[in-house]
C-alpha cells in the first residue's frame, strides 16, 4: 500500500493585515503591511525603546459564532483560533451544525470524530487573561481609593490608579485558569467541533504554528487520524503594553519608531529588530488525500515533509552557525524525498532581528543557493509569535495554489544575494518550504507541494 498523503483542504487566517484568508492574501499580494504607533497610554507604565507594532483590525466575533458569553470565558487567543478554524472548515466545505447550544458544540457531518485531531501552537496563549486577572487580584486592596482626590501631590498616583482600574475587569474571572492554560486553545477547538482524536498543544514559541502543522501531518500520514485542524494562535495585546515591554526590554523589537512605515524590514541591512503583532491565528484543515477526494474536497496543496531540530544553545539567540536550522531543513527535505535544488520557494522565518536574518540567510544560501524565491511574510504582518508559522504555512499554501509569491516589504539592501522576492510575482512553483525558529532554540520546517492530483 502506498504511503498516506496529506492534503490541505481549508485555510483560515486572522492577522494584522486582514480578518479573513482572502483579505490577508490580497493585502500580501498588494504589499499592504500593518504597522502603527503603540497606544500612547502604554508610556504611562514605562519608557519604551520601540514605539511601533502591528495591531489587529477590528474583528466581528459574533459573526464568527462567538457569543458575548463565550467571550467571557475564552482568552482572546482562543477566540482568534475559533474564527480561523471556522473559516478553514467553511473553506473546506463544512457548515458545522450546533448539537449543544449551551456548550457551543458543533458537529462536522461525515467525519469520524474519533479520527479527527487538533494540533495547535501558541507561544504564550492566555497571557493577557493572566495579566488581567493577576492585576485585578493585586489591586483589590486599592479599590476603595478609586477616584479619591486628595490634592496635587498625589494627583499622578490617583490618575495612574484610576487608569489601571479602568482597564481591569471588575470581577476576578472565575474562568481564569481555563483561560490561561496553554492547552485552552486546542481544547476550545476540540470542544467546538467535536473532535475526539489527539488534541495537542505545541508550545514552541515562534515555531509553534509550524510544529503543530508538522505534528498534524505526521498524525495523518501515520494513520492515527484522517483529518486535523492545525495551526497557531496568539494574542499579546494587553491594555498596559506589558508583553510589549517584555520584548522591548530584551531589545528584540524594531527601533525605527521615527518612520513607522519603514521600521519593519526583514533581511535588509538596515533592520533593527522585529515588529511585534498584537496577535493572529491561522488554521488549516488537513486531510488524508483519499478522505478529501472521496468527499469532493478542493485540495489547495499537499504537505509532504516535516523536520525539527533544537539548538541547545541559548533561550533567546539562534545558534550562530545555523547548523541546527540547516539540519531541520535537511530532515524536512529528506522526509519529502526531494533535494534542495527542487525547492522553488522558501517562506522564511525572516523576523528582522540582526542575528536571525544573518544566520537564516546564511543557511538558505548554503542549502539552496541563489535559485529559489525567498520572502518573509513577517514584513507584512509583523511577528505573530506562536501564530506566525501557521500564517506563513497558510501563505505558502496560497502561493502554491495561485502560483504567486508576495514580496518582502522594505527590502532595499539585502543582507545576502538570495533570490528575494522584492514585489509580488507570478512564479512556477512545484515545491515550497516554510520554516520557523524560536525562543528556546526550536527549529521547524515544512515542505509543501503544489496539488497535482495522482
Amino acid at each position: 500500500m502506498s504511503r498516506r498523503r496529506v492534503a490541505v483542504t481549508g485555510i483560515g487566517i486572522v492577522s494584522p493585515v486582514g480578518t479573513s484568508t482572502a483579505e490577508c492574501w490580497e493585502a500580501c499580494l498588494a504589499g499592504r503591511a500593518a504597522v502603527a504607533r503603540i497606544p500612547e497610554a502604554w508610556l504611562r507604565w514605562s519608557g519604551l525603546t520601540s514605539t511601533v507594532w502591528a495591531p489587529l483590525p477590528p474583528i466581528d466575533f459574533e459573526a464568527a459564532g462567538i457569543s458575548p458569553l463565550d467571550a467571557m470565558r475564552l482568552d482572546r487567543s482562543a477566540m482568534l483560533a475559533i474564527v480561523a478554524a471556522g473559516e478553514a472548515l467553511a473553506d473546506a466545505g463544512w457548515q458545522p451544525e450546533v448539537t449543544d447550544a449551551k456548550r457551543g458544540i458543533h458537529r462536522l457531518s461525515g467525519v469520524d470524530e474519533s479520527r479527527g485531531g487538533v494540533f495547535l501552537g501558541t507561544g504564550v496563549g492566555g497571557i493577557t487573561t493572566l495579566i488581567a486577572s493577576q492585576n485585578t487580584h493585586l489591586i483589590s486592596p486599592l479599590q476603595p481609593l478609586a477616584g479619591l482626590s486628595v490634592g496635587p501631590e498625589t494627583a499622578a498616583a490617583t490618575e495612574a490608579l484610576d487608569a489601571l482600574l479602568e482597564c481591569l475587569p471588575k470581577r476576578f474571572n472565575p474562568f481564569s485558569v481555563s483561560m490561561i492554560m496553554p492547552n485552552a486553545i486546542s481544547a476550545a477547538l476540540g470542544i467546538r467541533f467535536s473532535l475526539h482524536g489527539p488534541n495537542a498543544t505545541c508550545a514552541l514559541a515562534c515555531a509553534a504554528g509550524t510544529a503543530a502543522i508538522g505534528q498534524a501531518f505526521r498524525s495523518i500520514r501515520s494513520g492515527e487520524t484522517d483529518i486535523a485542524l492545525c495551526g497557531g494562535a496568539e494574542f499579546v495585546g494587553d491594555p498596559f503594553g506589558g508583553v510589549f515591554r517584555a520584548f522591548d526590554t530584551a531589545r528584540t523589537l524594531t527601533a525605527g519608531g521615527d518612520a513607522p512605515a519603514t521600521a519593519n524590514r526583514p533581511f535588509d541591512t538596515a533592520r533593527t529588530g522585529f515588529l511585534l503583532a498584537e496577535g493572529g491565528a491561522a488554521v488549516l484543515v488537513c486531510e488524508e488525500w483519499e478522505h478529501a477526494r472521496r468527499r469532493g474536497g478542493r485540495i489547495h496543496a499537499e504537505i509532504v515533509g516535516y523536520g525539527e531540530s533544537f539548538d541547545a544553545y541559548s533561550m533567546m539567540i539562534v545558534e550562530p552557525s545555523g547548523e541546527q536550522l540547516e539540519r531541520a531543513l535537511a530532515s524536512a527535505l529528506a522526509d519529502a524525498g526531494i533535494a534542495a535544488g527542487d525547492v522553488d520557494y522558501v517562506n522564511a522565518h525572516g523576523t528582522g532581528t540582526l542575528v536571525n536574518d544573518d544566520v537564516e540567510s546564511a543557511v538558505l544560501e548554503r542549502m539552496f543557493g541563489p535559485r529559489p524565491l525567498v520572502s518573509a511574510t513577517k514584513s507584512l504582518t509583523g511577528h505573530c509569535i506562536g501564530a506566525s508559522g501557521a500564517i506563513e504555512a497558510a501563505v505558502t499554501t496560497l502561493s502554491l495554489r495561485d502560483q504567486k509569491v508576495h514580496g518582502c516589504v522594505n527590502l532595499d539592501d539585502p543582507v545576502r544575494p538570495l533570490n528575494f522576492a522584492r514585489r509580488t510575482a507570478d512564479a512556477r512553483l512545484a515545491w515550497a518550504v516554510s520554516q520557523s525558529s524560536a525562543f528556546g532554540g526550536h527549529n521547524a520546517a515544512l515542505v509543501l507541494r503544489r496539488s497535482v492530483g495522482e
Binding site: 457569543s67 458575548p68 458569553l69 467571557m72 470565558r73 449543544d100 447550544a101 449551551k102 456548550r103 471588575k170 470581577r171 474571572n173 472565575p174 474562568f175
Partner: protein, 91 residues
C-alpha cells in the same frame, strides 16, 4: 402593575429569562418563575458561575457570589435583581 420609568418589573423578568436562555441554552417555550435553576433547568456549577457574570453584564453592576449562591429559582433571581435596581446600582 404600575410601570416605573426606569425598569418595570416585567422587563426585569424578561431580561432575566433571556439571560437564562443564553447561559443554559434553553429552548423551551416558557420558563416558569417557579423553575428551580439546578433541578428543573439543569444548571451545573459552571453554569451558576456563568449566570452571575451574565447577570452582571445584563444589569451592569456587581453581584456578590455569596448572595447569588442563595438564589435557587427564577423568581428569586428576578426579585433579587428588582430589589437591587435603583437601590445599589444595577440598571
Amino acid at each position: 402593575m404600575s410601570e416605573s420609568i426606569a425598569t418595570p418589573a416585567a422587563s426585569v423578568a424578561a431580561r432575566v429569562e433571556n439571560v437564562l436562555r443564553d447561559v443554559l441554552g434553553l429552548e423551551t417555550e416558557s420558563v416558569p418563575g417557579t423553575s428551580r435553576l439546578r433541578e428543573d433547568l439543569g444548571a451545573d456549577s459552571v453554569d451558576a458561575v456563568m449566570l452571575v457574570m451574565a447577570l452582571e453584564r445584563e444589569f451592569k453592576g456587581k453581584i456578590s457570589d455569596d448572595e447569588a449562591a442563595k438564589l435557587t429559582t427564577v423568581d428569586e433571581v428576578v426579585d433579587y435583581i428588582s430589589q437591587r435596581i435603583g437601590e445599589q446600582g444595577l440598571s
